[in-house]
Symmetry: C2
Subunit: 494 residues, 2 copies
């Protein structure tokens, strides 16, 4: 059967979908989400079927296709193509198996990941997979198979180095920009640390957003490799490297319900570490309200699983559980965080000491993993001698640097000082609310927007003293941020 291409001019953002007119669908006995092969010359692509109820959307004799299909087959509007019935992806059967509570075999998990990466599953089918692995929790064996499959169906960085250091923090804490301090310290000590980071999704800044204030973060795998070979380190955005690409697609269907299947969380993190060939990995699990992990029991459970998976993947994995009850560092938002980092590396008096303490602790853990005792002292020496800052300058330059001097960092010119309504001691801070205000002020898309904290938990505060300043690049956004501020309290003072 031959049909005429109608370019729908929309991207699905993943799944390969084509729309048939209701009458054509009847004619071929095709139903919603059946699979057909679209054949154009020698090219063939299998897509899922959607049905148009009206002739306006897709007339009889035509087939509506979204961008992904257009690109995959090199189609043009009004092209003639042939269609043929196709089988559903094999993985649908395996997803059903998991939903029925059975364990999956290696080749089944592999097929599911392959189908996800190649956009063969509809959002509904992918959702069943996530729901199945959420309610019928994956075993450690399955999680390891999922980890390897996610890494294998994506790019892999191969480095001729040992050890290769990596770190990861289970998010949720504003500020907390440890990567940008640790990479220069570890690289200055002579170890390879090819760090890939994410951009923010729901926080005021991801490490990639913050590093982008200083240098390019969207690099190719090849360029990244060259930089690490030259400088030992890098801080780049993982999103452009096609590392474990199944992960992003899985996350996209997790978000509507804000669920985080444990096996997906573990596999997602470990697959990305596996993809950059890390050998020694430090995982930081901050706990506290507003952080992703709420309590000690949950953290210990996760720690045990990370260590088990690490062992089975033949990676050295060390997990630390840290205090996640308040922001770490003073700046929140890309420019403000980048300034904190540079102050810290340049040993400026204005540097945030809580961030420094955490980075020294983490550096010590990393050094211990590779056999270096007194790692805290060594890390402090690398900071105080200027070697870490020197290394950061090298990395910034290698990543087509923008700036490396904290004085050059531009902050939003619209500001508002939030004052304390009473005297007392700061007993707690609301991570979620602080993040929200920084985001409404414009972070992370407006690099100069965010919050700068003058007080942390345990500090004394006088009535009318400034607790923090909100920065914004637009007066309107500042207004919205102030509105949120009026509705709730970021600081608990008693």
């Amino acid at each position: 059967m031959r049909l005429k291409i109608k370019d729908m001019d929309i991207a699905t953002g993943g799944p390969l979908v084509a729309i048939l007119n209701k009458n054509d669908a009847l004619k071929f006995d095709l139903h919603h989400m059946d699979r057909i092969k679209i054949i154009k010359g020698k090219k063939v692509e299998t897509v899922a079927v959607d049905i148009a109820e009206s002739d306006k959307a897709v007339p009889q004799g035509s087939i509506g296709v979204f961008e992904e299909v257009i690109n995959s087959l090199g189609l043009k509007n009004n092209d003639k193509i042939a269609i043929k019935l196709a089988r559903k992806p094999l993985s649908i059967e395996y997803i059903k198996k998991k939903l029925d509570g059975f364990r999956l075999a290696k080749k089944e998990i592999d097929q599911i990941v392959w189908d996800i990466v190649h956009n063969k599953l509809s959002a509904i089918e992918l959702t069943y997979f996530v729901a199945a692995s959420y309610t019928n929790v994956m075993s450690i064996d399955e999680t390891i198979m999922l980890t390897k499959a996610m890494a294998r169906h994506g790019n892999i960085l191969k480095l001729n180095r040992y050890p290769v250091i990596d770190k990861h923090c289970i998010g949720g804490i504003p500020g907390n920009r440890t990567t940008m301090v640790l990479v220069p310290i570890i690289a200055a000590a002579g170890f390879a640390m090819p760090k890939t980071s994410s951009r923010s999704i729901t926080s005021p800044a991801g490490t990639a957003d913050t590093m982008e204030v200083l240098a390019d973060v969207t690099l190719s795998m090849n360029e990244m490799k060259k930089i690490v070979e030259k400088t030992n380190g890098c801080i780049v955005w993982g999103g452009s490297l096609n590392l474990a690409p199944a992960d992003d697609k899985i996350i996209s269907v997790e978000r509507p319900l804000e669920i985080d299947a444990e096996s997906q969380l573990l596999a997602s993190i470990m697959a990305k570490k596996y993809s950059v060939s890390s050998t020694h990995i430090l995982i930081d699990i901050p706990i506290g309200n507003g952080s992703k992990i709420k309590n000690r029991a949950e953290a210990f459970h996760l720690k045990k699983h990370f260590e088990e998976i690490g062992k089975r993947l033949r990676k050295h994995v060390k997990v630390i559980i840290t205090d996640g009850r308040q922001p770490i560092g003073n700046g929140i938002g890309p420019a403000l965080e980048a300034r904190d980092v540079l102050w810290l590396l340049k040993r400026d008096a204005k540097r945030p000491l809580d961030l420094e303490r955490k980075c020294l602790l983490m550096a010590a853990e990393i050094f211990k993993m590779v056999g270096i005792e007194n790692g805290k002292k060594k890390a402090l020496e690398l900071l105080d001698s200027g070697k870490a800052y020197g290394k950061m300058l090298e990395i910034i330059k290698a990543q087509h640097g923008r700036l490396a001097n904290p004085g050059e960092i531009r902050l939003g010119k619209f500001t508002h000082d939030a004052k304390s309504s009473r005297s007392g001691i700061v007993r707690g801070m609301d991570n979620k609310l602080i993040s929200r205000i920084a985001r409404v002020a414009g972070a992370p898309n407006n690099k100069g927007a965010g919050i700068y904290l003058y007080k942390h938990v345990g500090n004394k505060v006088k009535r009318n003293e400034t607790l923090f300043t909100i920065y914004s690049e637009s007066s309107e956004k500042l207004k919205y941020a102030k509105e949120i501020l009026r509705q709730a309290e970021c600081f608990k003072i008693k």
Copy 2:
């Protein structure tokens, strides 16, 4: 914030969705599947957000909307509207609760059903609900609450009659057109039987498709009520009556994985019975390969649940388990089945005796439920006296009848006789394959297409004897049907 309407000219088939340009989404910090309110004058509608990556699909300053939103707000292309952040539907929290294995309360199930009916949930969110109730099986209490909620959020037929008879067959068996024999028998006996039936989705014909050969089946609730008041019975398509409309939306996300959550199955059937105010319900569970229920254990489990739910809903429910290993009746496909039914009612020698036996058995069960002994004899009398046929003529006429004489039924003019390749006894028949051939030949959309069987299980067959005839309205479809016939055997003869 004000945006310009761009009519996307596509229906989603349910969920209310609007598409924002990537940059506008960034500006408002909106993500995929966040909710916004669209405000046009005094009308407000809450919709889910999708993000367009390209300016081609939705330019900055515009908002792309699908048909459902266009209709809900009465929008036109280039209309100016305002948007505002909205909360996610309440039911998302409850769906997550079910996914986490907890039981749902009445008001939570009610909210979920309300949100489903009003298109407030995306396909992904609805899928989580189905997956959750599939893996964390709903309790009887929850199933009853779901049943009532599904019925309540839809139309309800109110009849001033007692008892009100109904029946349902858990599908999968080709032919098996018992409804069209039972309704005239029961109605002729003076009982109300306001029967709503479905159209075929994956079978060669649903009862609504078959009845449509003889009369209109797409009637309004009001018209249906009048017909039942006048004739005691009707056989109409349930799809146009908006009975338990949540059910169809749930089924649409079940289909991709072909799962059938037990609680959904029970609630779906019972909600539709509840919606027509039935008081006495006969449920037929055929078992056998190719039928929906495969074995006796499964059937008994389901029987127990139907009876329990019936008791709790204060309905008289009787469940029979029948033989579903082969088609019932000789005709398969709308016209061929309608002819069987008319032959049976007119006491023609060509009537299918297996269908007659099953209908007499079912009629007896129904009569027993309403206190009539010797129901089988009574049913046979109603048939033999012509009273049942007379009642069928009344019903056909009330439903703007087309024809009532089996001789007037037009069958597909392209035919093929399938012959036996050997002599022996028919030991088995492949329901699925027989259905598939009838569908490929054109059923149910081509009313005259299908299969007419000359042999059933247990019959003797000679080599080269005709087993069945395929009817089609197009030579090409007949060709396809013959191709499938060549690949596999419908009859097991030994």
